[in-house]
Symmetry: C2
Subunit: 316 residues, 2 copies
Amino acid sequence: VAVIACIVADWGTTNLRAWALDAEGGIVDRRESSHGLLTIERGRFAEALAEVASGWLPASPSRSMPVLLSGMVGSKLGWKEVPYLALPMALDELARHVGPVESPLHAAIRIVPGVKRDDAKQPDVMRGEETQIFGALQILKGQDGVFVLPGTHSKWAIVEKGKLISFRTYMTGEVFGLLRRSGTLSQLMEGDHHDDAAFAEGVARGASADAGGLLHRLFSVRTLGLLDQMPRANLASYLSGLLIGAEVRDGLAWLRLADRAGITTGIGSPAILESYRQALRILSGADLAVIDSGDVVPPALFSIARAAGLLTATSV
Amino acid sequence: VAVIACIVADWGTTNLRAWALDAEGGIVDRRESSHGLLTIERGRFAEALAEVASGWLPASPSRSMPVLLSGMVGSKLGWKEVPYLALPMALDELARHVGPVESPLHAAIRIVPGVKRDDAKQPDVMRGEETQIFGALQILKGQDGVFVLPGTHSKWAIVEKGKLISFRTYMTGEVFGLLRRSGTLSQLMEGDHHDDAAFAEGVARGASADAGGLLHRLFSVRTLGLLDQMPRANLASYLSGLLIGAEVRDGLAWLRLADRAGITTGIGSPAILESYRQALRILSGADLAVIDSGDVVPPALFSIARAAGLLTATSV
């Protein structure tokens, strides 16, 4: 039986993904829960952690299990606010700024800080993605890279010599969800089947310079449906293409301004990365290397936990 | 006591505004109801019309009151679908294409057609705004003009020699409503107080070429709130500015492409027109002449009803 040396978790707005790791960072067990921040009532974070880590925590109060968390759990809306680190930020600084959380559990809990771009003209924030980027660099054994992390709030990020030097957030996933579930476009969209051709048409239109701003282009979902120019079952794929196309077009322009050749690596779930890969191929001809975010979080948090000296302090 | 010669109404997705007019088009009475299309159940349009026109319709079946309707009531989702007219469309053609609706009421009901831009690359549709534009031209005693009609789905339109030659829709109002009421931005926005400075800052950022695409700029609402760079009570005004700024920037670029000097006239409710006026002043320095949409609909529909020969057929 493998011995659990620490627990790590990516705790975001909608999900909680946790891993039990051994002393070398090997995965002993893993669990996923829908207890993201939005479902936690009245600050019951310790209860949600105890539930997802059931059987992993020591029964005796004489031991304290190291627990390292990343993501929105460290925000104002989370368990405890851990101040943002400012850009440019060396990724190995994360370990020096983990923030402690008190709890009744037999655990020594720390949260990884987020990162802010504290610029009045272009402010931005991330929480959780910094850990994924750190993990991807370890896997790639590199110190430089350009990353895209699709999701509710997609992040595009540039790393140079081990430092996160810039990033940009897009509300692509959230805007898709709002328009898919409510409002006048949702009335016309039928089903969630993915249609490649409709997605590609959306990407092309979403990225076209002469198709008008996004607020105009979005209305084409309605028009194509009303004028029977596209089957309603394909409209959700088309909308997804419109939004991802708009994001990728702007992201590529941003990278050109920053004098970066292009995206090297996508980090996320395989399904959404496939859509970004397709959009990138349409818009730039380039391919997207992909890393499953589930593969980067455990080694990244293990490495931060070790660098922060958390693994040695398990007995009290 | 003035005699009611006809009833006209602007019947949209969320509202029903009706007027009783005399034989010269003078307003005898007016009513407003929240029985927009979204609240009509199981096709009970006749009941909703009878309610808003209570006391206006003849008691005796020997008379049939002319009723002319415009707006989404003529769409697939409305009372009866009246086919779209295609661009370019002479506005005086509207009268020749009004569509009849059967009903048990003592009324001869017609619906004004909408307009479509039936172009695979840039399809677009309007229903109701064509009537408002027709009415504005009558008030302005002109045959040419550029119009902006802000709303849930804003329309920008170009009229030349009495013909509607082009238009473009923006989902500005709907996207604002979705983001204001739900999702992660809504959690940070407090109240609906209008702050001029926050609105102006949103307009400037929403229209800035180097501030990234809209999906990125929207996230600044969250960042400014999280980093305490803007009071939460001002974030809704800032979001409104971001969206209207994005629309006006794109609309102005579209007008330049179409070789039009700028917007001459806004048609809508006074409050929303004031926001567009401010945005336009910030982005182009130009002023916006404004017409209250409540002032254009009755004369426009009266004029269409007369041209369609509806006013003479009141006795059966």
